[in-house]
């Protein structure tokens, strides 16, 4: 399975929380360094398959994750595109 979609959080705390949550839901995910093109952050993010996008969004919604959730897809080497998602629209409305 190609894990070329990335879920990012501001703190490693939420990366660990999401990892536990998604693994418990039986999903195939991987912890990888945040791609340099997305952020200069030195942390980690969660890589998953884009076919699981809706499932990931619904699992991390309403679970006490703060504010905005960033999701990116890999387009090509060194090229990433932000994926807008319903969860962020909900957060903005609050």
């Amino acid at each position: 399975m190609n894990l070329h979609t990335y879920l990012l959080f501001n703190s490693i705390h939420y990366v660990m929380k999401a990892e536990e949550l998604l693994k418990e839901a039986g999903m195939t995910i991987d912890l990888v360094p945040v791609p340099r093109e997305i952020s200069s952050d030195c942390g980690m993010c969660i890589a998953f398959s884009e076919q699981d996008l809706q499932k990931v969004i619904s699992l991390v919604s309403g679970q006490g994750f703060p504010g905005e959730i960033q999701i990116y897809r890999r387009m090509a080497r060194h090229e990433y595109q932000r994926i807008e998602n319903e969860r962020n629209k909900l957060t903005e409305q609050q």
């Binding site: 705390h13 660990m16 929380k17 952020s39 942390g43 703060p66």
Partner: protein
């Protein structure tokens, strides 16, 4: 050997704590939240699990509001200095530890706050009538309150006091040094703004661990700023939890032990630990109260109390008693003022202090009998 100094540092620790420390040291070893290799991820998971276990113990729904510090003193300093505003009128009680009194006296000395100290009874309970009177006289902005006394073992009626303070819109910081792990604590119902704890006492973890629980929306100014592993491109401190307060590499080896200790307490339950420790305290209290010339302090054994029993004996100084117990009976206790001169002034034992017996969850009934016998013998040899 009989170790009765658990109110200073609990000993021994559950075997799981030592195993977790050894596991981290031998198979993980890396920094949490910094690099992104597998060992760094393992270290990150370990810190996350410690936070989750703490959140479970204190009934906190979001573990990012658990902030780790090196001990309760650091947590109290963070909360006090991070929330106080110039000109604040601050309330505290006459049963506080120096970890509360010294930061507050410093702020008072610097002219930054006005400090009001609520008196307490000789049993170590804060005077609620006096508190209500002061609340009518002045408007206060901040209160720093003990949850349980390290001198008398009294447990404060915090729910009632906090509700009085909250009616006046006062920010409340609680010192849970002696209560965290020793009694059930529900921070969803106990509406303090910051609850401070230490890892090495009743939480049964190693020294160098502690922290605070922030109620939702409470953001004290951090005590230190620096690298957090997050937002590395920014020259300003990230303002999200828990990173805002946790600059510099954490005490991961200590948190490995604390996480295992918290898991042990969650499995055993704080109410079972409290029940067992109350039995030990009751046994000690009953045995000691039969010794002529011995004076006990704090609430009697039938009260809901912590397993902390202070006493004096005839004309013997606390230091002489402790030396005798250690040298001749291998019984380890703490003497003197227990870093709480104000509390000793309240119960009338300043400046000499008391002998403090603080059994823990792993002490036995038989050990209590040995201790009572040893002190009884000393009383016979040193009549009034």
């Amino acid at each position: 050997m009989i170790y009765l100094d658990n109110a200073a540092t609990s000993f021994p620790k559950p075997p799981e704590v030592l195993a977790a420390i050894a596991h981290y040291a031998t198979t993980i070893g890396a920094s949490p939240g910094r690099s992104s290799h597998r060992l760094a991820a393992d270290a990150g998971r370990l810190v996350f699990q410690a936070r989750e276990q703490a959140a479970r113990l204190f009934h906190v729904n979001d573990s990012s509001r658990i902030i780790f510090t090196k001990n309760v003193t650091e947590a109290l300093n963070l909360a006090i200095f991070g929330l106080v505003q110039p000109g604040d009128r601050v309330l505290t009680t006459a049963m506080e530890h120096n970890s509360v009194i010294r930061p507050l006296r410093y702020l008072e000395q610097e002219g930054r706050i006005t400090l009001e100290i609520i008196p307490a009874s000789t049993a170590g309970e804060p005077d609620i009538d006096q508190l209500q009177r002061r609340l009518r006289q002045h408007s206060f902005q901040l209160a720093v309150l003990n949850h349980g006394s390290n001198v008398t073992g009294s447990i404060f009626p915090l729910a009632r006091v906090i509700s009085l303070l909250k009616d006046e819109g006062i920010t409340v910081i609680v010192d849970g040094a002696q209560t965290a792990g020793a009694i059930p604590i529900n921070l969803t119902t106990l509406a303090c703004d910051v609850f401070c704890f230490t890892g090495h006492k009743s939480l049964l973890g190693p020294q160098g661990t502690g922290g605070m629980v922030l109620q939702e929306g409470i953001m004290p100014t951090p005590l230190i700023r620096g690298g957090t592993g997050s937002r590395s491109e920014a020259e300003y401190q990230p303002e999200f939890l828990p990173d805002y307060y946790e600059s510099g590499t954490l005490n991961t080896i200590g948190l490995a032990g604390l996480g295992a200790a918290l898991t042990f307490i969650n499995q055993t339950t704080a109410s079972e630990i409290h029940h067992r420790e109350r039995e030990l305290a009751r046994k000690l209290w009953q045995g000691l109260s039969a010794i002529a010339g011995l004076r006990l302090y704090g609430p009697a054994a039938d009260h809901d109390r912590l397993p902390i029993i202070s006493f004096t004996l005839n004309k013997l100084t606390p230091a002489e008693i402790a030396f005798n117990l250690d040298r001749h009976h291998k019984i380890m206790v703490r003497v003197g003022l227990h870093c709480a001169p104000l509390a000793h002034k309240t119960i009338g034992t300043f400046p000499q202090g008391t002998v403090r017996l603080a059994p823990g969850y792993f002490n036995t009934d038989r050990e209590m009998e040995t201790v009572i016998k040893a002190i009884g013998k000393m009383a016979v040899h040193n009549p009034a």
